[in-house]
């Protein structure tokens, strides 16, 4: 049944070739982005947790501890069930500060290179046994399938190809972008190993056994005796195992990278809280089936997934187990190599040899990383060959998991105890690592048993070494962390980092000015550390991310730019080196300016995290938004300035008034605002008494009068600053002037009414005398004269009545007119009156009204309207201009139009053309009452006025159209027809 060595090597290389092809397909865009970025791909990539241990070690452990093997799966499932309270906060910190490894996180939180370096060294030592398991299982698989003694050489060949895949898909560019290709490849591997395990489980259930009933019969019969001899884990040991695997699920370097650095969003991570446990359930389900199948046939079979192969003696079953194991091992090795290379680069190499200003900084970092990737994988192979082969998979795996668990106390303190400091963490880590090295790692390396540590005797002598070492190392770690932290001082930097990391963080970002005055200065400053090219690219990248321009000068924006550059550099070189570079080359200016909280930054953070707030915090945030919106939508201009003259608020009304959007000025200094605002705001800030009334300013080419109010924010809880209200009183100023003008005209109107009243008596006398004259003579000439006198006195009476009516608030002084009035006659009459004025001599008047258009109305008052319209038309025309009167009918109405070719109506007065006292004529030439009276009269006639300036189809001029109801024969007429019309 032996398979040839070459055949197995080709099989493995073929599988890795398919993997490579899968990666290339993603790279070239043959796989849609919606697939590569699907949350399920992320979950399957997290399935890298199920390493070769899951395929081989679990079967081995099930044989040694029964269902105790489930701890490996349930521990990880528990960690992801707690995603909302454990993983999401870590994800928030890592994404905000571009932290891609556990060492980055420790170095950032504890502001200590030592913490980062220590975690890196611990990861390196802890991960070696895990890498050893992967290589060991590959080597064992080749030996089992071929019986060849060259299995380690084949394993080395596989390692080389896996390292090449990791370099090609994982270490191509910088360390900070999501590796879609790599994740898709790892997800593909998870599918393969899941199918392999389910396939092997199915073979065990339906091939070795004859289905579930047969399995049950075996378990109740001969299998019961075998199971009864299987040792069971004690409850404390089980719980300890759960804890170890719980910690490993997100703290192992490769899992930390996928869980946090490669996650797309918070929702993706939360989805994994149920989908990853489901994946692990499916991976765990076949394990007891394979084990029982092996036990049912031959008790001496190897207790690994290969049991199924050995039992069935079919080559393809062996291939299935081999491919499943290779998929599990290769994915784990690639991810471990990539994660560990980043940690070693950032926390060992770059710390020992900081980067210099060089033109090929990115290339240098990339090649360094690639070399480290290869080095880590070869290190795993060396470990497997020199150490791993002498130990069981369980021993190797537990040594790795106990080692990484030493970071658990520091990690929990990072999230939930702001009082923990670097000295406590480093002391705890050193203590825990020391116990772990002595109790598990050195015995593994040296293959000897070292003397027991003190206190391990407190556990039972029969307890396994991993158990007593775990308890003692974690106890030492936790005690040192707490005691040292309590008795040593926490630095200011640590305190602010603790606030940033803490779940209940209260961020107090300060508004400090920077030495660099513009975004352009950043490049010059950073070039000293990174070189021209790298500095330019980093600044450009940060500007693009923040949607800023290189000309940006706002202090707020520059501070955000600095933070972004630090976060980006942290992703490239680790937080320690990034912080050093930024602190040194982009320093804050420490002058005498007051230091205040960065409220805008706090607000933008709150906006970003709004959907995550719950309970009271959510209610408070709702209240904050309500108050903010109240200010933002206040119909009065409002701006808020900090004590350092930085603009904190610029509301919508002020944006509309000033033409300056809030987004473009918030965060800038007062003196960097466009004129006239710096002077205007200065004047109100420096004024001893406010408000400042009606300050004349010119905004976007127009004159405005602004009234400014000021309130100084002071008091115990205040963060300082001033609130300035800006009221636009331009309209009010104009209205005031209008009011004065109107009052003057009104007094003239009252005077006119008084005069009209006085005129009324003599006119009545003249009319009576004319009447008497008619009775006293038969002379036709005198009679005609008397008639003329009477007609003219009637006209004067009506004019006087109109004036009196207007002076009495526009109420009609006359009854509704119902007499017939011929438009042609009225037009002729009005033209006759207009011609009496000398100034109308050089204007051509044309009347084309037909005789048969008769409207219902008062001919005298309509004449007055027409006189007003013709007078205006005449004034608008140049010499030799033309004024035309036309008329027509439409349904029950007549239209009566005066068209001129004059200069038209000023658009600024169009909307108030019929308001009293509206005139564009020079002072003394017009009262502004003509059109107002016309409107009033037409309104009384139940008509309407339309104005077109210029008239349709004409370049200039004005057409005023009057619509009046046509006279009907059945109209009630209390007056005799006006024969004048």
């Amino acid at each position: 049944m032996n398979v040839e060595l070459v055949g197995v090597a080709l099989l493995g290389l073929g599988y890795l070739g398919i993997l490579f092809g899968c990666g290339m397909a993603v790279e070239r865009g043959w796989v849609p982005v919606r697939v590569t970025r699907h949350p399920m791909v992320y979950t399957l990539a997290l399935g890298v947790y199920a390493s070769a241990w899951a395929v081989y070690g679990s079967v081995e452990m099930a044989g040694k501890a029964g269902f105790g093997y489930l701890a490996y799966y349930l521990g990880a499932a528990g960690a992801f069930l707690l995603a909302p309270v454990l993983l999401v906060p870590i994800q928030r910190i890592t994404r905000t500060y571009q932290l891609s490894s556990l060492a980055d996180l420790f170095a950032f939180r504890y502001r200590s290179r030592w913490a980062g370096t220590l975690v890196t060294l611990l990861s390196l030592l802890a991960v070696l046994p895990l890498l050893g398991i992967q290589v060991q299982t590959l080597s064992d698989a080749v030996t089992l399938l071929t019986g060849s003694r060259y299995s380690s050489a084949v394993a080395l060949l596989f390692c080389a190809v896996i390292a090449a895949c990791a370099v090609v898909f994982g270490a191509r560019h910088s360390h900070r972008h999501r590796h879609d290709t790599l994740l898709t490849v790892i997800a593909f591997e998870s599918v393969i190993k899941l199918l392999a395990m389910l396939g092997l489980g199915a073979i065990a259930l339906w091939w070795v056994f004859d289905g579930p009933q047969d399995l049950q019969r075996w378990l109740e019969g001969p299998g019961a005796a075998i199971q009864a001899t299987t040792p069971q884990l004690e409850a404390p040991q089980w719980r300890t195992l759960l804890l170890l695997f719980f910690a490993a699920a997100f703290m192992m370097p490769h899992l930390f990278q996928i869980t946090f650095a490669e996650s797309l969003s918070r929702h993706t991570l939360l989805q994994a809280s149920w989908s990853l446990p489901l994946f692990l359930l499916l991976m765990a389900l076949p394990v007891p089936l394979i084990l029982w199948a092996a036990q049912s046939t031959n008790d001496s079979l190897p207790l690994t997934a290969y049991a199924a192969y050995v039992m069935t003696e079919h080559w393809w079953v062996g291939v299935l187990a081999f491919i499943g194991g290779l998929a599990a091992a290769s994915g784990t090795m690639m991810m471990i190599a990539l994660a560990l290379s980043g940690m070693v680069l950032n926390h060992l190499v770059l710390v020992a040899r900081p980067p210099e200003a060089r033109s090929d900084l990115y290339g240098w970092l990339l090649w360094l990383r690639r070399a480290l990737v290869v080095g880590v994988i070869i290190g795993g192979w060396l470990f497997a060959e020199s150490v791993g082969r002498y130990h069981s998979l369980t021993s190797l795996g537990l040594a790795a998991f106990v080692g990484m668990a030493q970071c658990l106390p520091g990690m929990l303190a990072l999230l939930y105890w702001p009082g923990a400091n670097r000295k406590g963490t480093v002391a705890g880590l050193l203590g825990g690592i020391g116990v772990w090295l002595w109790g598990l790692w050195l015995p593994l390396l040296l293959n000897i048993e070292l003397p027991a540590l003190p206190f391990t005797t407190l556990t039972n002598a029969s307890d396994p070494a991993w158990y007593s070492t775990t308890l003692l190392s974690l106890a030492v770690n936790i005690v040192l962390l707490i005691v040292v932290s309590l008795f040593t001082r926490i630095s200011e930097g640590e305190r602010s980092a603790a606030e940033a990391c803490s779940v209940d963080a209260v961020i107090r970002s300060k508004r400090l000015p920077l030495e660099a005055a513009t975004a352009g200065d950043f490049t010059a400053h950073l070039a000293q550390a990174l070189g021209e090219e790298a500095a330019g690219r980093e600044v450009e990248r940060a500007l693009k991310a923040l949607n800023l321009t290189p000309q940006e000068r706002r202090p707020y924006a520059l501070r955000r730019l600095r933070d972004r550059i630090q976060a980006n550099l942290s992703g490239l070189m680790g937080p320690s080196v990034a912080r050093d570079i930024v602190d040194r080359y982009l320093p804050y200016r420490h002058d005498d300016a007051p230091v205040t909280d960065d409220i805008h930054f706090v607000e933008s953070r709150l906006e970003a995290y709004r959907s995550r707030l719950t309970g009271l915090a959510r209610e408070l945030d709702g209240l904050r938004r309500h108050h903010r919106q109240t200010l933002a939508y206040l119909p009065v201009g409002l701006c808020v300035l900090g004590d350092d003259d930085e603009l904190l608020m610029w509301n919508q009304a002020l944006s509309q008034l000033s033409g300056i959007s809030g987004d473009s000025v918030i965060g800038s200094r007062r003196d960097s605002l466009p004129p006239p605002w710096p002077n205007l705001l200065s004047s109100v800030l420096n004024a001893s008494q406010t408000p400042l009334y009606k300050q004349a300013v010119t905004l976007h080419g127009k004159d405005y009068f602004l009234t400014l109010h000021k309130a100084v924010l002071s008091g115990h809880d205040s963060r300082g600053g001033s609130v300035i209200l800006v009221e636009d009183h331009t309209e009010m100023k104009w209205l005031e002037e209008e009011l004065v003008h109107a009052a003057r005209l009104a007094s003239i109107g009252q005077l006119a009414a008084g005069v009209a009243h006085e005129i009324g008596n003599p006119i009545t006398g003249i009319s009576s005398l004319a009447q008497n004259l008619r009775y006293d003579t038969d002379d036709p000439a005198l009679l005609e004269t008397a008639d003329h006198i009477q007609q003219l006195t009637q006209r004067v009476t009506k004019i006087v009545n109109s004036l009196v009516g207007f002076a009495h608030g526009g109420r009609p002084a006359l009854p509704l007119p119902t007499a017939p009035a011929a438009l042609k006659t009225i037009s002729d009459d009005a033209l006759h009156l207009i011609h009496l004025a000398r100034s109308s001599e050089d204007i051509v008047f044309i009347n084309t009204c037909s005789d048969d258009i008769v409207v219902r109305g008062d001919a005298q008052r309509l004449t007055q309207v027409m006189v007003n319209l013709l007078s205006n038309a005449k004034d608008a025309c140049r010499p030799q201009g033309t004024v035309q009167i036309t008329a027509g009918t439409q349904a029950s109405h007549a239209w009566w139009r005066v068209t001129d070719d004059g200069h038209g109506i000023d658009p600024s007065v169009k909307h108030r053309l019929f308001e009293p006292f509206t005139t564009t004529k020079p002072a003394g030439e017009g009262t502004g009452l003509g059109l107002s009276l016309a409107y009033q009269i037409i309104n009384e006639h139940q008509g309407k006025i339309e104005v077109a300036s210029p008239p349709p189809g004409k370049p200039r001029g004005t057409a005023i159209t009057l619509w009046l109801p046509l006279y009907q024969q059945d109209d009630h007429s209390p007056h005799a027809p006006d024969t004048d019309c």
Partner: protein, 58 residues
Amino acid sequence: MYVYRIMLFLVFGGYLLSPLFMDGWGDPTAAWYRPFAIWGGLIALTLWLEQKRKLDER
């Protein structure tokens, strides 16, 4: 937030009671798949809580 509290309660309660998972091994009266059935139930519960959380956050 109460969803997270349920989750915390489930995980820590499950942690304390989890040794019961191992009891079915070698017990012919218990179905061998019992631990997996319980585990599947927990996953279904988590899925339900996750849907509820999504609705809460809308």
